[in-house]
Structure formats: C-alpha cells, structure tokens
Amino acid sequence: MVAKMLVLPIIIPLSAALLSFAIRERFRRVQAAISLSAALLNLLVALKLFKTSFEFVLPWAGFGIEFSLKSQHFSNFIVLASAGFAFLVCLYSVAFLQYRKTYKLFFAFLLLAVSFTNGAALADNLLVLLFFWEGLLLALFGMIAIGNKGAFKTAIKAFIIVGISDLCMMLGVALTGSLAGTLTISKINLPLDGLGSIAFTLLMIGAISKAGAMPFHSWIPDAAIDAPLPFMALVPAALEKLLGIYFLARLSLEMFRLTPASWVSIMLMIIGVITIVLAVMMALIQKDYKKLLSYHAISQVGYMILGIGTAVPAGIVGGLFHMLNNALYKSGLFLSAGAVEKQAGTTDLEKLGGLGKKMPLTFICFCICAASISGVPPFNGFFSKELLYDGALQRGWIFYALACAGSFFTAASFLKLGHAAFLGKLGPDKEKLKEVAAPMLFPMVVIAFLCVIFGVFNFLPLNIFIQPILGSERLGAHNFSGFPADLKLVAVTIAVLLAALLNHYFGVKTKGSALKAVDHIHYALGLSAIYALAEKRFFDPYNLGLKIARRVGKIAFCWDRKINWLYDCFIVNLTFALSGQIRRWHTGNYSTYLVWSLIGSCIITLFFVFSL
C-alpha cells in the first residue's frame, strides 16, 4: 500500500502536465491552478516520503529490466529539493509569464520536467533511470523551444549536446550491466579497474553533462538569452544540477568504489577545476545579467565535481552541500534577473542601473544570494566552499589554488553585476519602476531566507540532508557542521574576498564605471585575444563539432559526387555506348545475320569437336 506511494511523485506532475496540454489556451487561470496545486501536492508527497525507505518493483520488459523504484535517503532528498524549487518557480511563473503566448506549454513542460526528475531520482534500475533521464531532455527541449525567436536553434543545440552525452551514458549503462550482471543500481558494486573505469567514465559523462560541466556546457549561455527565464531558474540552475550531481555521487559512492588513489578521481578533479576557472573567466566579462549568471551556473558545477572527485569525506560533503546551496542561490539569482527583466524590460547591464532604490526587496535578495555564491560568511556558500577547499587541499595545493582563483573571479563578477544593475545612476526612462508583484517576490524571499538559515545554522542541512548520504561508515567520526575548523583556510578565503573588493574598487576608479570594473582583466595582455576568440564561440565544442561535421560533410559530399559520377555518368554512358553499338550492328541486312549464325554454328560445332 505504502510502497505504491512511490509512484505518486511521477504520476502527479505527469498527469497534471498532460491535463495542461489538453486545456485550451483561454482558461489560463484553471491551468495555473492545476499546475500550482500539482506542484504543491508533489511537495507534500515529497515531504511525506522523506525519512521513508520503500521499494516498488513492477516486472516490466524481461531481461532483468524491471520498473523498480526505491526510496532511500539520497533519492528522497533530491525529490524533496526539486519539489520545493518546482513549487516556488511555478508560483513565480504564474506572475512572470502572465501575457506570454507560451504560457500553457511552459507549465506543461515544467511539470513534465518535475515528473521525469522524480522518476530518475527514484529509479533503482539503470534502464528506468535512462528512460526518465531522456524524458527530461524532452522537457528541456520543449521549454527552450518555446522561448523567443532564436530559441529553436538553441533548443536543437541543447538537444544535440545533451543527446550525444546521453549516448555515452547509454553505452555506459550497457557496459555496466554486462560487467555487473545486473541493472539494479543498489546491487551494482564494481571495482574501478580497466573496463570498470571505462564504464564509470561513460556514465560520468552523462552525469556531468546533465549538470552542465565543461565541455558540455555551451548550450546554457545561449538558453539563458533565448529560453523563458523561469526555465533557467528551475532546470539548469536546480533540477539538472541536483540530478546530475546526484547520479555522479551515486556512481562514485555506491556503484563504483571511488578511492583517492584511482586516476578517475584525478580526472574528475581536473574537469572540476577547469570548469570552475574557464567558466568564471567567461562570466567575468559578460555584459548581460542572465548570461553572466548562466556562466556561473556552469562554473559552480566545477566545485561540486571537484568536491566529489577528491574522494575524501570533507570534499564529498562539501560537494553535496554545495549542490544544495548552489541550487538555492542560483535559482534566487535567476529569479532576481527575472524580476529585473519583468520591471525594466531588459537585462542588458549597459541599460540598467540604480534599480536598488526602486526594487529594494529584490536588491536585498540579490545581495544575499550574491554573497552566498561568492562565499561570504556567514551565508551558506561560504560553508560549503570551506569544506571543498579543505578537501581540495588534502589532494594537492594546485586544486586548492585554482578553486580560490575561481572564488576571486566569482566575487569580482558579482560586485560588478550588483554595482552595475542596482547601484549607480537610474536611467531617465526608469523613473516609474516599481517592486515586483508578491507571487514573484515570495519565492525570492524564501530562497534568500534559506540561504541565510543554511549558512548560520548549517548543522540543519548538514545533519538532516547531507551527512546521512555518506553514511557513518564513510563519514567516520567527522561532523562537518558548525564553523570551519581550519581557521587558516578561512583567513585565505577572506583575503581572497578582500582582494576581489580591492580589484573592483581599482577597476571602478580607473575606468570610471561599474560595468567596466573588470576591463583591466578583460583587456590584459594575452587574455584579450583569447576572450575575443571565446566571444566568437571559437572554443565552443558544439561549434567546433559543427565545423568538423561540415568538413566531414564536404569531404563525404565530394566522395559522394565521385561515386555518383560512377553510377550516374560512367555506367550509364558505358551502357548507352554499348547499346548504341549493338544497334548499329543490326543493319537489317540478312546476309550479315546469316554470316553471324554461320560463324556461331562453326564455333560451337568446333567446340564440341574439340571437347572430345
């Protein structure tokens, strides 16, 4: 009876989504009501599920493929978190999307995304997981595609990038299944040797690309511009991060025994720091509110991957805590971007300024979230980053140094963003701006509040959500709640933050504008050329892939023309020449024909004579 409750987090949003598709465009309020109540119901079910542990198995397709769901602590936590974000974003979207044409489709896809996320989090069979995983891609595609004009192209881009990595994951699922002899996730326990590490890598590609790490990131900045904004706050900022890191953590904690000694651990950490540094460098020079945030959405994933990759308890706890924190403040930041877009009509930083006076609550929420992401004590981001630094330092100073550099640029870019958008002079046409409506304000306030709570009382999330994931066996005697133990690391962090502040002050003084505060880095020797290329998407793996595909296509086309010539010209002309010749031989002269017959008979008769 109770075990069947496990299906509810999948069924409720799914049926609401299908209902939304069916409702006519005119009945917006009905549709909003259905979506909101479904999201709320989903949240209640998730709350009820938390702290339970069930299994639900339905024989499905044979060959060991069972529709099996399993509620355990980690899955329940993901379901609960995504349900919370889904409800908040749903509420926000009702006000945000008020007059958009795509209103109905957006809610339908949103609920679909929630349903598939829940399914993927609860799945206990790799194929079932894969099914929901791909389903999420469908919802993702739909939500991007209903954005503004260029959105369809971006949707295709996202679809191809995520699709390719999902293909890797499919291979990984197949390989894992054949190595382990079962597809049930909770029964898989493989060593990280030759084939095992290949299987891990393939599955990991699926996980980190869902989370949006480099080099599978390049659709996110495009989607930030093209897709409806609540999509960014929900899917890339929250759901996909939660799901991707959830799967990565289960991979490295349960299915494969990741140890600090294995090369896979090093690989994960390298991916992590590269993602942190490169993405934050790109974020630094952005001149658009949403685009800047989207690069941070990529950069922060690096911290989580780095944390899990360290394979030491401090790092893993830090990575998972960072996952939760990031989902919170990144959603909050995107929601604030939505508030600005809604009220000011643009997110271009050059046209913004001085909004703080007109939208004080939004500004406060932004400040809290920005402080969190920059790692300012006592907000939640500070504590998870300290844990990460601790873990990284245990594995090598270079990882620690690069992570700190990432922090520096994060702080610098948010100083620039906040200064340029909310402080400074108010544009002449922005005099009549007001604070946003309550349904949009409420989610932001809740999220900002949680950022503070999870920071000041960090034992709450750590003890309730995060540390049980590792279990007492892995965690040992550690308890990471409370203020960081290593004060030296805290001192370094504060020094980095102060350096960022100084850098900002210096930039504003020399260039005279908040927007140009980081121009001395942007146009530094050597960097400016690289930046120029990056702005032209020279380093975008998707564009590189497209270029290669085009080259290959050209070569294939040339080759195809050659083959075509062989078939269409050579053979046809040869045949026609032969048949024309044959036609010319038939002169209609019977004596010629008689001669042919005579010669033929002679040859055949002679053949028979000589065959004796």
Binding site: G580, T592, S601, F607, S611
Partner: protein
Amino acid sequence: MLSGLILLPFFSLIILNLPFRALMRRLSFGLFQCLALAQIILVLSPSVFLSGSSSFGVDRFFKFNLINDNLTRLMLLCIGMVLLVTVFVCRYTIKGPSERFNFINLLLIALIGTNGVVMANDIFSLFVFMEITAVASFILVAFHKKADALEAAFKYIILSEFAAVLMLTAIALLLFICGSASFPAINAALKNSPQNFLIMPAIGIFLCGLFVKAGLVPFHAWLPDAHSAAPAAVSVFLSGLQIKILGAYTAIRLVTSVFGYSRPVTQILMLVGSVSIIFGGLAALRQSDFKRMLAYSSISQVGYIFLGLGSGSALGLLGAVFHLFNHAVFKSLLFVNAAAVEAQAGTRDMDKMSGLAARMPLTGLTSLLAGLSAAGVPPLAGFWSKLIIVAALWISGHYVYAFAAVLGSLITLAYILSLQRRVFFGKIKAEFQEVKEAGFALALPALVLAAITVAVGIIFPFLAQMPKF
C-alpha cells in the same frame, strides 16, 4: 486422349475449310476459343492423363507414341493460355471476317505444331512439328503483306531454314550412329558409345539449330524484325510462346532426357544464355519502338531459361521451367499491352508517347506489373524464377554466370522503367487527350495474365511441394 490434342485441331482445320464457308467463318473464332479452353481444362484436370488409353479409340487408327509428363503438361497449359490470348487480341486487331478466318486457320496449324512439339517422343517427329509451327509462323508474320513484315518474314525464313538444315544434318548423324530416332533409343545409344567421334558434333549442330529457333545471340537477328513487324496478335504468339516451345522446351527436353548433361553442353548453354541476357538487354535499352524493345527483351529472357538449364542441377532446371512459364505470362501480357497502345494511340514509337497511364490506367497498371515481374521484383512471379536460377548457378559454383544473371536483371529493370516512363508516366500529350482504354477483348486477357503473375508470385513461396518433371 493425348493424341486428341493434335487430332482435334487437325480435324477442326479440315471441317473449317469444307463448304459452308460463311457459316464456318462465323464459327471459327468460337471453335478456336473452345479448343484452347478445352486444352487448358484438360491439362488442369489431373484424372485425364492418368487413364492412358483414349476414350475415343483414335489410337486404333493413329499409332502415336507421345510423352506424358509434367513438363509436357505445363507446356500444353502455356500453349492453351497464350493461344487463347492471341485469339482474343486477333479479334480486337484484325477486323475483316475473311482475314480473321485465315488467321485462325493459321493459328490452328500453329496449335497442331506446338502441341506436337511438346508431345513428340522421337527426334524426327519433333523436327516435323517444329517445321509445321515455323511455316505457320512465316505466314503469320507476313499476314498483312506490308513491306517491313514481308522483309522480316523473308529473313525469318532464311534463318529458320538455316536452322532446319543444321537440325536435319544432326538428325541424320544421330540416326547413323544410333539407328533409331526415338528419344530413349538415342539416349541408350549415346550412353553405350560416349566417345563416338560423330556424337558431339551432332549434338553441337543440333543445339545451334535450337539456338536459332530460340533466338539466342548470335543467332537472334531474325527475331527483333519478325516480332516487331508481325501483327499484334502474332507477336503475342511468337514472343510469348513460339520461341520458347521451339527453342527452350526442345532444349530442355533433349538435354534432360536425350543428350544428357555433358560438360560441353552445359558450358555452351550457359555461355550462349548469359551472352543473350546481356546483349539482348543492352540492345533493348536503346529501342524506341515499343514492340522491338519487347522483342529484344525476349532474347534476354530466353537467355535466362538456357542459363538455368545449363547450370546442370535440378534446381536450375526448376528455375528454367518456372521462368519459361512466367515469361509466357508476362511477355504475352506486355505484347497485349503493346497491342492496346498501338491500337489506341496509333503509333509504336515510344518517343512520341507520354502519360498514357492517365487515359489507359488498366494497360498502364498491368504493363507495370508485367515489367516488374520481368525485372524480377518481389513478390511477383518473375522474382522467384530468377532467384532460383541465380541460386542454382551460385550453388553449382558458376559465380560469373550468376553475376551475369543479376546484371541482366538490372538491365531489364532499366529498360522496363524506361519503357514505363516514356509511354505511361509523365504528362499526357495533347494529341492523346482523347485516347481511351482498349476494349474488353484486350482488357480481359490483360487482367487475367496480370492476376496470374501476381498470384503465382504470392503463392509460390507457400507451395510445399515443387512440381516434379
């Protein structure tokens, strides 16, 4: 009873030419129809042949020693079928009552000849019946006494008589060696003295004669002229039946039960067969005359029969006989379509036609079915026979010939599609706007033959037991 199949047409011929000409003229068409239908029914009803003795007692007066096996029965079925179609076409295309009467008389002679060929059990009767058929064919080709038809008939006579000379020579040699003309006797004698210096040349010379009759390359030159210049109904008979009865059936009969599969025989059969397939197909590709293209196609398709026969295996033989039957069906059908197009559009030049399928949908559809069957497109009948032939060649290790057979199939598809495109597809030309579907006399045979092609193709794979010969 078997002898009745020769005697009945013979007496019909005599009765038709007694006095009461006016009455006989009216009766002739129905009489011939009845004879052909009776032949089909007799062949299809199994009990008749089982009772060896005749119920009419004619055997007392005419001592016939005839073959009665499945191969002969299948040939008799083909003869009945194609001649029935021929007489339908003649009813539509030959309008004058006296001309039609003459035509039917000639067809009766052809019926006697072909029936005799497939039932003859000695080599000399075989030759005589072949010449009976040939003489009727000469006159049929020149029936309208037009210049090109007369010229074609003349060429046909020259080459056919050349073949007759060859065959007579061979028969004389065989008689000299074996002392008897009957098939079993010759076969026994050949087995006794396989190293006789005269046997191999005799067989070779006889086969050359058969190649002329079958129209294989390089003995084919009479065929395109005769088949395209002849009246429409005659083309159906010649291409659909005559070359296969005189050439292919005779070769099958003689090789299987008289000459035996010696190495040179199979080699020559396969070589000539594959050369004919490729050569005939290539020649057909560039023709602009509807019937001439079909005539070249006949050369190519008869090549398949010889190729299957030459593979020397039971499977190949099955393929050859099956293809013989299929070819009789689809080539007759194509010539019926050609007759319809020629009668309605008034021309045989394919370059002048276009889009006729819009005005003659039935003709277009049936010719497409027949053409695809010829090209060996599944699930039509031609696919299975070609498949069997290719498989037999492959199994017996003749990879080059198997390749030639497949290549020939591709060429067939090329010219068939070119024919369809030029005649039936595309936009209809203004001068053909008023063209109508040909009448019942052509539509009925076309439909029946198309149905046979499709039905045989679909049923064939389900036939558990293959016919035995």
